[in-house]
Symmetry: C2
Subunit: 240 residues, 2 copies
């Protein structure tokens, strides 16, 4: 057959079709409507020979997720920004997934009901996983108050590529900062269900990095970022 | 004030708080529950001084979205894979968002009802936008049969950073290839609402690149990828 035959590319190119874990070979397929089809039946897994290892080599770094959790005002965005700058100065590519920003785009259909909060975290975890697969150091910055939701995201990432950073700052400090004026509104009863005031924050039990005050002094953004960078360096994420 | 005071970082660091477009300054806030809160009220836009221009400079390329649309079996994944390899060989970082793969992760809660298809495309567009903002050449590969849904994604990307590639292959060819055996099922009436058989495919009216047969011969993956790479090179995406 000529290599120009339109029919043979699916046999000769580098794409493999791999059945997803929930695909049952030999399963009898009844008449179904696409509108009611679940994803198990007719969705194939596409793989390409150019993968994460090649991208990591190009970037000379290892893709991972740095997940920053903590109260509103605890310094998550400050750390994310400082970390991203520090990594960039070392020639490393990172990208910040900010909880608030995502709610203006990908998650704009979600509110703050319990199931919406969970879906908000799930989607962010899925996107963070894609960025890590792309080879980037993905910095996710979200209050993410519930342990279960964070652990769901951790479970998405294999091989210890989920690095949880807990901003362990006292509520009193976060409230004194109140950068968005939300604690004031929550204390005045104008916002209900606000994390730390009348909705719980569940601290991590097994985080990789904890950022906290030292003798009552809060570390500077540079010092906080340095702590994370040191961890990444030690674990071999900053080379490939 | 000492630079170690925990209270001044929000005044001195590089984070700016920008009201989103739908935020109304001076608006009276009534008592609200977080559970019923919309995203307009208390979500702030986080910005960081390290942005897309700096990431593009690091990568020596410009972030954009290459959106490949076409029938099942038209060669979208083949082109995506070949394009990604060709870009990699030139030291450029790309990432493939494959419609089928996303349905195993981010979009696993969605089926094939009209509104689910639309939401599937919307989320993919939002994620593609994030990857372009990260500085990557994001290659989205989805049937994306409806013009309106594709144009929604185009509208998300400013400055002509949405490059639509139409795999203009005859249905007869796609059906003869039938790499996933889905046309056979659709013709046998075992799948209803299958694009090209009993659900419409709306060809682009204004795509940037069209891939089609030349004198009845289908271009090779290498030739298809070359056409897209030439476009990207000509428009300046492969340098910064």
């Amino acid at each position: 057959m000529s290599s120009h035959s339109p029919l043979i590319y699916h046999h000769t190119n580098t794409i493999r079709f791999i059945h997803p874990p929930n695909f049952l070979p030999g399963k009898t397929i009844e008449t179904v409507s696409m509108a009611t089809l679940s994803n198990a039946t007719n969705i194939f897994w596409q793989d390409c020979q150019l993968g994460k290892p090649e991208r990591q080599k190009l970037l000379n770094q290892k893709g991972c997720v740095v997940w920053i959790t903590g109260l509103s005002g605890s310094g998550k965005s400050t750390l994310a920004c400082s970390l991203s700058s520090e990594l960039h100065s070392r020639g490393k590519l990172s990208y910040i997934l900010d909880g608030d920003n995502l709610r203006h785009g990908l998650n704009k259909d979600l509110g703050f009901k319990a199931e919406d909060r969970t879906e908000n975290i799930r989607r962010t975890g899925e996107v963070a996983k894609l960025f890590a697969d792309a080879g980037l150091i993905c910095v996710a910055s979200l209050i993410s108050p519930y342990r279960r939701d964070r652990d769901t995201c951790r479970a998405m990432l294999p091989d210890s590529n989920f690095i949880e950073v807990y901003m362990n700052m006292p509520l009193s400090l976060c409230e004194a900062r109140d950068p968005k004026g939300l604690y004031k509104l929550a204390r005045a009863g104008k916002i209900k269900g606000f994390t730390g005031i009348d909705d719980p924050y569940e601290p991590p039990l097994n985080c990789e990095i904890e950022i906290k005050e030292d003798s009552g002094v809060c570390p500077t953004p540079y010092v906080m970022a340095g702590k994370v960078v040191s961890y990444l360096e030690e674990k071999g994420y900053l080379e490939c």
